[in-house]
């Protein structure tokens, strides 16, 4: 239970930021909050499942309040695939072992590797669907991108991380590295875990590539969630000293970063009414606090010291390199580089550059909306400078799971490959920042050019947005993978097939002409006579 409590403590600060927006969704908001907490506190699988589904359906009523009704359906469909797989496994376990209690079930599973493999995959499905791992990631962009602005951070920061909890339960609490020790090993990992890592790697790559393409900031952040869920999953699936700690820590870091990013864009949408990057620009002058929050969040997300995101990503790389997982490591590094590209797009497009004329009069958001964003930023910096604060918790979790605990010494993180002193790095960065500030004040200032201050040969500018440099920001890069295959199309195709099958059923079996049914009745009766001879 200690580990469950400590997991919760990661999420609690995040939940504190309930942004003021009077809306009818308070009931469901609180229900989903209660459900999420319930998931982490529950002692047996049935309670866990009940809270899990409670969260699903209560959040399901919030999402359609936003832009899309279809989003709810996609969200429900995908997360239910996962939760029903889990339910199937749980009930089967209950019938087999006669209990729902997590610890008992896990103990019994540990002695039964064959069953454990089956349940590993069935239960982890629930985690994968919630985390938004390939091939289940499609609900993230559509649900996050279209949910009410204040609920997107909850989805990304909170609900998605429930999936992390399930992945944590099934890879670590069920000691996979021991249970599957006799199974096929790929690069020192049991193949079950390796499959998860591959899925995580694919998610990193897909999430990154898709995020680079997005013009809507919320969709962009949603795809970045896909890619970061990949990191979390890889970290958790490694179940070792360093990468596992990194994965658990990344759960928290990404929750903070994506919540901060979503909140920043909720603030922008509150003032401007849009989240499309190409319609924004130059907001740094009007909304400096939001800008700062966003900046800190993306630094953490891209894994640049001294923010906390660096520590967790660094630990995951350490683990990957130590075990020699080049392919996965390649994906992880690719995602890291790509994340610079996609987090920079909203930064440059929405905050820097020229102010669009229609947003001339906007102001910073009210203080009560700034506060939660600032708290999150503060936590990001705090855990970046002192990652030990959190790693101590994680070390406790690891000890309780019989894993080698991560070594922490003050601000230093010790790993077999080397150590990392966040304090020194912070110091270096602070000095660099001070030098840059001095240079900024000492050197001559650049002339700031208005968006409309441009040369148009006396043509009237009808749509100033097109002149904004952030429209088609990464066009050349996007062209490289324009014709990518897409899982969305595949799912749409499946849904279409089902619809067609339904219509077929309707015309064949529910025809308005009763002769059809009479025909079927005679066919079935004949069939029963032919095959039903033994009673």
């Amino acid at each position: 239970m200690v580990l469950v409590y400590s997991m919760v403590s990661f999420f609690n600060p995040y939940w504190m930021e309930k942004v003021i927006h009077p809306a009818a969704y308070n009931l469901f908001y609180l229900l989903s909050l209660g459900g999420t907490l319930g998931v982490f506190y529950s002692k047996d699988f049935l309670t866990l499942f009940i809270f899990w589904e409670l969260v699903v359906w209560s959040s399901m009523f919030i999402i359609p309040l936003g832009k899309s009704r279809r989003a709810t359906v996609v969200y429900y469909g995908i997360s239910t695939i996962g939760s029903f797989a889990m339910l199937y496994a749980l009930l089967l376990l209950n019938v087999k072992y006669g209990t729902f209690e997590i610890s008992t079930v896990i103990n019994k599973l540990s002695t039964d590797p064959k069953m454990a493999t089956l349940f590993f995959f069935l239960i982890v499905m629930a985690g994968l669907t919630k985390l938004g791992i390939f091939p289940f990631y499609t609900w993230l962009p559509i649900a996050h991108g279209n949910a009410p602005h204040t609920f997107s951070p909850v989805l990304s920061g909170g609900l998605v991380k429930m999936g992390g909890f399930i992945a944590f339960l099934i890879t670590a609490v069920l000691p996979t590295s021991k249970v599957f020790a006799n199974h096929l090993q790929i690069l020192n990992n049991p193949y079950e875990n390796y499959i998860l890592m591959i899925l995580g790697a694919i998610s990193i790559i897909i999430g990154t590539l898709m995020a680079i393409k997005q013009d809507d900031a919320k969709k962009l952040i949603a795809y970045s969630t896909v890619s970061n869920s990949g990191y979390i999953l890889i970290g958790l699936a490694m179940v070792d000293q360093t990468a596992f700690a990194g994965g658990v820590m990344h759960v928290f870091n990404h929750a903070m970063a994506s919540a901060a990013m979503f909140l920043a864009f909720a603030a922008i949408a509150y003032r401007t009414g849009t989240t499309k990057i190409s319609e924004l620009g130059g907001l740094i002058k009007r909304m400096p606090v939001t800008f700062t929050v966003y900046l800190i969040a993306i630094i953490s997300l891209a894994g640049i010291p001294p923010m906390s995101g660096f520590a967790s990503k660094w630990l995951i790389y350490q683990g990957l390199l130590r075990k020699g997982n080049m392919f996965i490591a390649f994906a992880a590094f690719f995602g890291s580089v790509g994340s610079f590209m996609y987090v920079f797009r909203p930064l440059a497009g929405a905050f820097l550059g020229q102010l669009s004329p229609k947003h001339k009069d906007i102001k910073e958001v009210p203080f009560w909306m700034q506060l939660p964003m600032l708290i999150i930023s503060g936590l990001t910096i705090l855990y970046g400078v002192y990652p030990g604060l959190m790693l101590k918790y994680i070390a406790k979790i690891q000890t309780s799971l019989n894993l080698p605990a991560i070594g922490v010494d003050g601000t230093k993180i010790l790993t077999p490959n080397g150590m990392w002193d966040s304090w020194t790095v912070t110091l270096v960065f602070t000095i660099g920042f001070i030098i840059a500030t001095i240079l900024y004040f000492v050197l001559p200032k650049a002339k700031s050019v208005d968006l409309m201050d441009t040369y148009t040969s006396a043509e009237f500018i009808h749509n100033p947005d097109l002149y904004h440099y952030s429209s088609n920001y990464y066009a050349p890069f996007e062209r490289l993978y324009k014709n990518h295959p897409s899982v969305e199309k595949f799912y749409d195709a499946i849904a279409l097939r089902f619809k067609e099958l339904g219509l077929l059923v309707k015309t064949w079996f529910f025809n308005e002409n009763p002769a059809f049914t009479v025909f079927w009745i005679s066919i079935v009766i004949t069939a029963i006579f032919m095959w039903g001879d033994k009673i």
Binding site: L46, I50, F51, E53, L54, V56, W57, M60, F61, P64, L65, G66, K67, S68, R69, T72, V73, Y76, G77, T80, F84, L87, Y88, L91, L92, N94, V95, K96, N146, F498, K499, E500, L501, G502, L503, V505, K506, W508, F509, F510, N511, E512, N513, P514, F516, T517, V518, W520, I521, I523, V524, I525, A527, I528, F529, W531, G532, D533, K534, I535
Partner: protein, 466 residues
């Protein structure tokens, strides 16, 4: 102590009276319905011999826990349906009374031929009820298939009667092992086919879409909850108590019922109108309940009967009301309707979520029981398929709810200005119905013993009963 005969006799008597006293027909309907609800709750386990001929020669009525459970649900949903859609009763009081008598008779009778008689009476009143919305094509379809089904059933029991020489259910059950296998196969097939028409099993149910899909608030509630309950409960009685199936025949019947719920849900998934979606969903649920009965899980099946009857009562009544007052039941045209009628929306949503089986609603309780018990009898495919169909079911109900609660075009914020101009009238009765049933579903999900008490009594007596 109430004689179960009264449950059939009073509505029938009032039906005749309502022909004579045309002015008082609605009053008689209310009286009979109220009496039946009361009587169903007061009914004790008993067995009544009709006409002084002792069974197995005469006809007897059996009120065991099984039929009492069915009667309580049946009469309650019937009464709720009549009261909430009272304005749609119009000239149909007599028919409603006859159908009430026949449905009660179906539940109570202990005789296979008597069951046929009540089945016919119930079907005939159903044909008339289905003309309420003046869509005669569906009715025509129903008449042909219903007649075919009843005749197949009759053929089946004739075969059995000529071999065993009895029509009494208990007597039949004890003598069934004497029957030659081939004859039994023939008879069972006919009985199954005949009952499958009424119980809405694929592919015997071509009439469902025409009738359910064109129901109004009253007939929708009565068909989907009262008729469905009676038909599926009798299906359960015949195939769990009287004829116990095993071997290939059981596999074939199970295949049919499993295909019914999968294809039914898929067909519902492809629909755009609320009533036709609900119609196919009823088909799916009937298949599910029949599967549970055939797998030998009567208790779970009965719980699902209760869940389905309550949920479909609310949903069909509201969907029918949409058709009657708003003139359409197309989801796209009714976007945001529940914003105007929040209480109705509440009941509808609770019913839908309970039917899908999401936690904290009663349906989840049923689902857990169904799956666990299926695992216990070593069946691993059926639970997976049940979950699959329930996934599809969830998707289309969520799609429906999302649109009915949140108006707006795809890609734009949900706003009031997109709300449909259409609205319902007489909302008070529907709101009361929705809230009462909605709260009741919530209540039994916290206190499932309220319903399971009767079931467990029945199951503990099953060895001695029948």
């Amino acid at each position: 102590m109430i004689n179960p005969v009264l449950l059939i006799a009073i509505p029938l008597l009032f039906a005749f009276l309502s022909v004579m006293f045309k002015k008082a027909d609605k009053g008689l309907l209310v009286l009979a319905v109220l009496f039946n609800v009361l009587a169903a709750f007061l009914l004790k386990e008993t067995e009544v011999v009709i006409g002084g001929w002792k069974p197995p020669f005469g006809i007897n009525l059996i009120a065991d826990q099984y039929s009492i459970f069915g009667l309580i649900i049946l009469n309650t949903v019937f009464a709720l349906s009549v009261f909430s859609s009272f304005s749609s009763v119009k000239k149909y009081s007599t028919v409603l009374l006859v159908s009430l008598a026949a449905l009660n008779g179906m539940m109570l009778t202990g005789d296979l031929f008597n069951l046929f008689v009540f089945l016919e009476i119930a079907s005939i009143s159903a044909y008339i009820l289905s003309t309420m919305t003046k869509k005669f094509k569906g009715t025509f379809n129903y008449i042909i298939l219903g007649a075919l089904g009843s005749n197949l059933y009759l053929l089946g029991i004739i075969i059995l009667y000529s071999t065993v020489g009895t029509l009494n259910m208990a007597d039949m059950a004890s003598k069934i092992h004497l029957v030659n296998n081939n004859v039994l196969l023939l008879a069972l097939t006919f009985i199954f086919a005949g009952f499958a028409v009424e119980a809405k099993l694929m592919p015997f149910n071509g009439w469902v879409k025409g009738v359910y899909g064109n129901a109004n608030d009253l007939s929708g509630g009565i068909f989907a909850s009262a008729y469905a309950t009676a038909a599926i409960m009798m299906f359960g009685r015949i195939f769990t108590n009287i004829f116990v199936l095993d071997g290939t025949l059981k596999t074939i019947f199970l295949t049919i019922t499993v295909l019914t719920f999968i294809l039914g849900e898929i067909a519902a998934f492809s629909q755009k109108n609320i009533r036709s979606t609900l119609a196919f969903s009823s088909v799916g649920q009937a298949g599910l309940i029949a599967t549970l009965f055939l797998s030998g899980l009567s208790g779970v099946a009965m719980m699902q009967v209760a869940n389905h009857a309550l949920a479909k009562l609310v949903m069909f009544t509201i969907a029918g009301a949409m058709y009657v007052y708003a003139g359409t039941d197309n989801i796209e045209k009714l976007q945001g309707l529940f914003k105007k009628h929040k209480l109705i929306g509440f009941g509808f949503s609770v019913a839908a979520l309970s039917l899908v089986g999401l936690p904290i609603f009663y349906g989840f309780y049923v689902k857990i029981f169904a799956l666990s018990n299926l695992f216990k009898i070593n069946s691993y495919w059926i639970p997976a398929l049940i979950l699959f169909s329930s996934l599809i079911e969830g998707i289309y109900y969520i799609r429906m709810l999302a649109k009915l609660w949140n108006p707006g075009e795809e890609g734009k914020e949900s706003k009031d200005e997109y709300t449909t101009k259409l609205s319902l009238e007489n909302t008070f009765a529907y709101a009361v119905l929705a809230v009462v049933v909605g709260l009741f579903i919530l209540y039994i999900s916290y206190n499932p013993e309220f319903i399971t008490q009767g079931i467990s009594n029945y199951l503990s007596n099953i060895a001695g009963g029948m």
